[in-house]
Amino acid sequence: MSGVFLLARRSIRYHFGRTLLLTACLTLTFSFPASVHLLVARFQQRATARADATPLLIGAKGSRFGLALHALSFQGETPELITMRELEQIRESALAMPVPLLARFRARGHLVVGTTTNYFRFRHLEIQRGRPLGRIGDCLLGAAAAAHLNAGPGDRVVTESENLFNLAGPTPLNLRVAGVLAPAGTEDDSVVFVDLQTAWILEGIGHGHPETNGPINVPPGTNVRPHSASASNLRTHSAVTDENQESFHFHGNEADFPLSAIIALPNDEKSETLLMGRYLTPGNPAQVLKPGDVVQDLMRIVFDTKRFLDLGALLFGAVTFLLVGLIVALSLRLRKQELETMFKLGCSRWTIVQVQSIELLTILAMSLILASFLSILTNLLGLEWVSRFLVA
């Protein structure tokens, strides 16, 4: 039997090109459906876990998927904004603890999410380095965001302008990194967190500027710039410092300040039902949804898509196995002389079948090992790649 293995081993090594082609074809055939299956399962597990942990979500009426994706995964377009009035109503009802979210701007590609400390408690986010948010203009970096921005406590991160051509709009803010969160393995890792006031400053509702009644002369290179084209003589601070933090203030009624979503944490099941009932009136501009239900609906769409991918993989597999059959048939034809020689030397047909089978099984085993490795790798890195792609 060892002779048969030796022949198979030598043949596999000698016919390197054929071995490589067969192994590559089979590896792809096995790894593609396995990777898709694992990736979808992991996506489902991750999405479902995050959604199930979020009891209720309140946002402007519109796409349920859009609101859920925005509030749970910080992906997609920012939905229509609601106001702080919604949050106050929930708070006054004493049915749930509201956790506000305002996420519209980015800092070097990473979404800036304005929220309160309740969010960190709710998501079990812990500070790995640095300290919590101390004052307006501070930010906490998710672990992946910190790694990507190569920033840590004490560093600065500048937000991006909403619109480069809108000179009257809010200007970028130079955020101070207060701390870095421990990796959570969720979408929170890729986010820059600020408090709500800082998020409103980014919206242009609040600002800080030197106390002055007339035009001021600003030396070049200072942290002061014009607030808007219509008030070019009023220069606002582009960074919050110990010296200027007292000058920051907000205009307007706080109840009208914007939020993109509210996570509501009901006291109990009855409170949840009562709270949901409040949003059933037709005239209410806000909607409430159970993220778990929305994600289930979303997963149905994902699984429908996966069915097409599975069908594609099946066809691909069939074509590959036909190709493998063709290569094996051609290989046997090319090796006809060799097999005839073995037969003349007394080799049984069964032994010849054994040699060929061991060659094929070895290639199959190598392909399975490689496919497993590839699938595990995709499973480990796939979601990160997808997240990075979406952030980019």
């Binding site: 016919h15 003349k344 030397l345 007394g346």
Partner: protein, 220 residues
Amino acid sequence: MIQIENLEFAYGAAGFGLRIPQLSIAAGSTVAITGPSGSGKTTMLSLLSGIFRPASGRILVNGRDLGALGESERRRFRIRTVGFIFQNFELIDYLDVRENMLLPFLINRSLKLNAAVRRSAETLADSVGLSEKLNRPVTQLSRGEQQRVALCRALLPGPRLILADEPTAGLDAANAERVMEQLGEHAARIGATVVCVTHAISLLDRFNRVLEISTFLEPT
């Protein structure tokens, strides 16, 4: 040793056929078979080795009638009794010199590959001047060296009958002389009968007996 009586064989219903009324070859003798191409020399070797089965008549080798044996018995007969040397050497490209010599042991479970066999292979390789090249791929050898590897492969199991099909075709005169000399020496040492198909007139005096195929074989 070999006794053929009223042998008849044909490739398919309307294919080439041959008939050998009577032929005897003594044990331990060396016999050259000559004749024009297509006259049935290679077919005769295939019949003597049991690869082909006669349609009628008898081929007795060491007293065994090959025509009466089934396929697996004829295969066992080939393993134990016959050593083959082919015109184109028919070495396995992906094996080295040593592994090619040991090929009959690698593919036949009834031949035990042990340390003694490995030593015999080295001794044999040494005797034909290949001891330094045992681990080389056969594709790196000259044609003369390749045929010597084929000779060693045929001799190593210690066959009682060596069938050689134009073993010097494609070799230069010096290599042809060397191969035939080594074949004769080793066959004599193990007492094997040699039946060799050849066109090389200059080598015929190395054989005990030279048979022109038309003298004993009739095409049908």
